[in-house]
């Protein structure tokens, strides 16, 4: 392998990253970010790992707890990496590196290394290393070196599996009905842990037969093998398990190489007449002079794998989570959870493309200013299309509430549910406008869950935090208090709507003023 060239390419990736923030005080921002955010998180992860090892040893079931912790971290890392598009795609395309005098292996190595060195895998590595060190310190496991190696190899398998899943998700999502399939699988992946917990408690067949059987098979998986190494007293046995982990690495690497051979999903139908007068144009027709912008934006949404999948996933996840939390024994019947989760429905639509509304246009962004269109109409269309698409989900989500909620669904409850949904819709779409204007990034429409820009991640995080906070707060207050102060929700909805419409007005001026900067960001990526 051409190691110097490999490191040169990895270095280039970081030089480009550095160049992106090389604005006024950009370097300072990066340094502050690196020292005051990444490093503390790494330390927290590492000490958290040590803490969980200590808890596992104190519980007296060191290996079982290690298996559960490492297994959960393993699955969550894959899910988060794919959902946030972080650490699942190389910084450079394999074909981009063909111009350099590098062998196939070098090219593949450079590509994978740039994806592996994303912060997410460093955080996972810190956590796994903490667990390994913790077990060695508190349990007196065989060898620290073997435990550390196991942690490292575990993260490598975790990364490789996330890459394979990401490639498959991209491939499936780009097929007809693929988005629906991916949405179902990912929704199930998110709701699977609480579902299994419920099953374990309630279904005897699962508890007595299927669970032990599944556990037997799981013993061979990387997190369970790594847990065995970290808690193993015999060095020889740990070494054998380490070899098994190494085999997993080779297997996943081979599968990743094979996944690169999946046929391209780009439809090229030579000889077919170009369809340019389709349903999108008919839907857009009533919008008058903005109709071409509306039909273009609708086409982009229909062709964006990520947007399609997230759109479908939003409703599926809402349905699954509501179903899991509805408890017929309590009077609230899931009302608290429904109110907490309904804003999520409005958030889902904005997540697809709305949070980076111009990022998918690339050099086409300049057309908005060359064409006879006002910045306000451009921004209105860029924001109202995801808002309307998300709004389509709200009646369906309310229908789910109607059928799943236990207890009386009277006018007050309806007002609360509708307000919660509309409030989230306006708030998150307003936020998406600001991230589109202030944090745009170059994005590819064909990549389902690949590289995503900071703005989208911000909306994702801002969306998740209030989601859980509201559920927790509502849970603490109780349904009686909620119903007593029902009017708070409509008031908040009106405030959110005002925020949205003010944002559209102010945003048009910002769009006009920042157009050169946005063009540079969405066209060149810096």
């Amino acid at each position: 392998m051409n190691i110097p060239a490999l490191f040169e390419i990895v270095g280039l990736r970081y030089r480009l990253l550095w160049a992106k923030v090389r604005l006024k005080r950009g370097r300072v921002v990066l340094l502050v970010g690196a020292y005051f955010l990444v490093l503390p998180v790494l330390i927290v992860m590492f000490t958290g790992g040590i803490g969980s090892a200590l808890a596992a040893v104190s519980s007296g079931k060191a290996e079982s707890v290690a298996e559960i912790v490492l297994g959960c971290v393993y699955l969550d890392a894959i899910l988060i990496a794919i959902l946030l598009g972080s650490g699942t795609s190389p910084a450079f395309a394999y074909s981009e590196l063909r111009r350099y005098p590098l062998s196939r292996l070098d090219r593949a190595g450079a590509c994978e290394l740039t994806a592996f060195l994303e912060p997410i895998w460093l955080f996972v590595l810190a956590l796994d290393l903490g667990i390994a060190v913790g077990f060695h310190a508190f349990l007196g496991a065989s060898s620290l070196l073997l435990a550390v190696l196991a942690a490292f190899l575990l993260v490598v398998t975790n990364f490789l599996l996330a890459r394979i899943v990401s490639v498959l998700v991209d491939w499936v999502a780009s097929r007809r009905v693929g988005s629906l399939l991916v949405a179902i699988v990912m929704s199930l992946g998110i709701v699977a842990p609480p579902m299994f917990q419920n099953l374990r408690r309630s279904a005897p067949l699962w508890k007595n037969r299927l669970f032990p059987l599944a556990l037997g098979w799981l013993k061979f998986t990387p997190p369970f093998v790594a847990a065995g190494i970290m808690t193993e007293a015999s060095a020889l046995a740990a070494l054998y398990r380490l070899l098994a982990l190494l085999l997993w690495c080779f297997l996943f690497a081979a599968l990743l190489a094979l996944s690169g051979r999946l046929p391209s999903a780009t439809p090229t139908v030579a000889g077919v007449r170009t369809p340019w007068d389709g349903p999108c144009d008919r839907i857009a027709a009533p919008f008058g002079s903005s109709a071409p912008l509306v039909s273009k934006t609708l086409r982009y949404y229909l062709r964006c794998n990520r947007a399609r999948t997230l759109f479908l996933m939003t409703l599926l996840m809402f349905l699954c989570l509501l179903f899991l939390h509805v408890n017929p024994r309590h009077a609230d019947g899931g009302l608290v959870v429904a109110i907490g989760m309904l804003p999520f429905v409005g958030w889902g639509g904005a997540m697809g493309m709305g949070a980076n509304a111009f990022g998918f246009d690339g050099s086409g962004f300049r057309r908005y200013f060359l064409s006879p269109a006002s910045p306000s109409s451009v921004l209105r269309v860029a924001s109202l299309v995801p808002l309307c698409l998300s709004a389509l989900l709200i009646p369906l989500a309310l229908l789910c509430c109607r059928h799943l909620l236990v207890g009386p669904v009277n006018y007050v409850v309806w007002a609360m549910l509708v307000s919660s949904a509309l409030g989230g819709l306006f708030f998150f779409n307003a936020l998406a406008v600001w991230t589109s204007l202030l944090m745009p990034g170059k994005s590819e429409i064909t990549a389902a869950f690949a590289r995503e820009v900071a703005g989208t991640k911000l909306v994702a995080l801002v969306g998740i935090v209030p989601l859980f906070l509201s559920v927790a707060l509502a849970g603490m207050l109780g349904v009686a208090t909620l119903v007593r102060y029902w009017w708070v929700l409509p008031v908040m909805t009106v405030a959110a709507a005002c925020f949205y419409f003010v944002t559209l007005g102010v945003g048009a001026r910002v769009l006009s003023e920042r157009r050169e900067r946005i063009l540079s960001m969405v066209e060149r990526g810096y």
Partner: protein, 258 residues
């Protein structure tokens, strides 16, 4: 003869960097105007300012006799632009993109359909089916961008490096169209690095050098009939010779290892 494009003391700065220093230029209606200059001299920036993409830092622009800025929606309907980097919506198909352009410029449904169909046929793009523009070759993308620039039959057509990457047959067709547009009394404002093309095609030209400073402008139609242009007491039989005299810097570096 009326003036189609007029810029007075045009200035454009990107922070501390001056892209166009102080450019004053008038382009008569019905001319095929070549806007020439070395790399980085400010040609594309000037076109960006003239078409509403960029906000000039200073100076004034008049198009078709009316003052122009980026908010002049009505005036934008009368111009066509093939910008730098083409500005295509890459997820759309060729027909969809042309239809988008036609509708944006306010063409009615019947005219849009007719023009899009004719342009697709003329540009040999009718059979590309459901192929997004991102999958097109560089030359085909350029054809789409050219078609998009002319779909509204503009009174002024701005073209930034129009012939680059297009095959010779395509170039011949495009040149014919440009001559036809000019013969109709419309104006073409074109940047190019191919001086032979500019010499044969354009009737007037301006040469600028970094940062957007006009060094020469005038009639170049006489070059096609073999008559030289006199500048600073010297005669230049080709546009290339004139360009090198007013704006060119010969590459002095010698690479001994090459």
């Amino acid at each position: 003869m009326s003036t189609a494009i007029e810029m007075t003391h045009l200035r454009k700065q990107y922070g501390q960097i001056t892209a166009v220093a102080d450019l004053s230029l008038a382009v008569p209606s019905g001319s095929l105007f070549g806007f020439l200059g070395p790399n980085g001299s400010g040609k594309s920036t000037t076109v960006g300012c003239l078409t509403g993409l960029l906000e000039p830092t200073g100076g004034a622009i008049r198009l078709l006799g009316e003052p122009f800025d980026s908010n002049c929606v009505a005036l934008k309907c009368r111009i066509g632009v093939m910008p730098e980097n083409l500005g295509l919506f890459e997820a759309l198909y060729a027909g969809e993109f042309l239809a988008f352009q036609a509708r944006m410029y306010g063409l009615d449904e019947r005219t849009s359909r007719q023009r899009v169909a004719e342009l697709l046929a003329a540009m040999e793009l009718s059979n590309q089916g459901k192929k997004p523009l991102a999958a097109f070759s560089a030359g085909m993308r350029k054809r789409v961008a050219f078609a998009a620039a002319v779909v509204n039959a503009p009174e002024i057509l701005f073209l930034d490096e129009p012939f680059e990457s297009i095959d010779p047959a395509g170039v011949v067709v495009m040149k014919q169209w440009l001559r036809h547009i000019v013969a109709e009394g419309r104006t073409v404002f074109m940047t190019t690095h191919v001086l032979e093309t500019a010499e044969r095609l354009c009737d007037r030209a301006a040469i600028i050098r970094s940062p957007g400073q006009l060094v020469w402008q005038g009639d170049i139609s006489q070059l096609a009939s073999g008559r030289p242009i006199a500048v600073d007491g010297e005669e230049f039989p080709t546009l290339e010779a004139l360009f090198m005299h007013v704006a060119g810097k010969p590459y002095a570096a010698t690479l001994s290892w090459l």
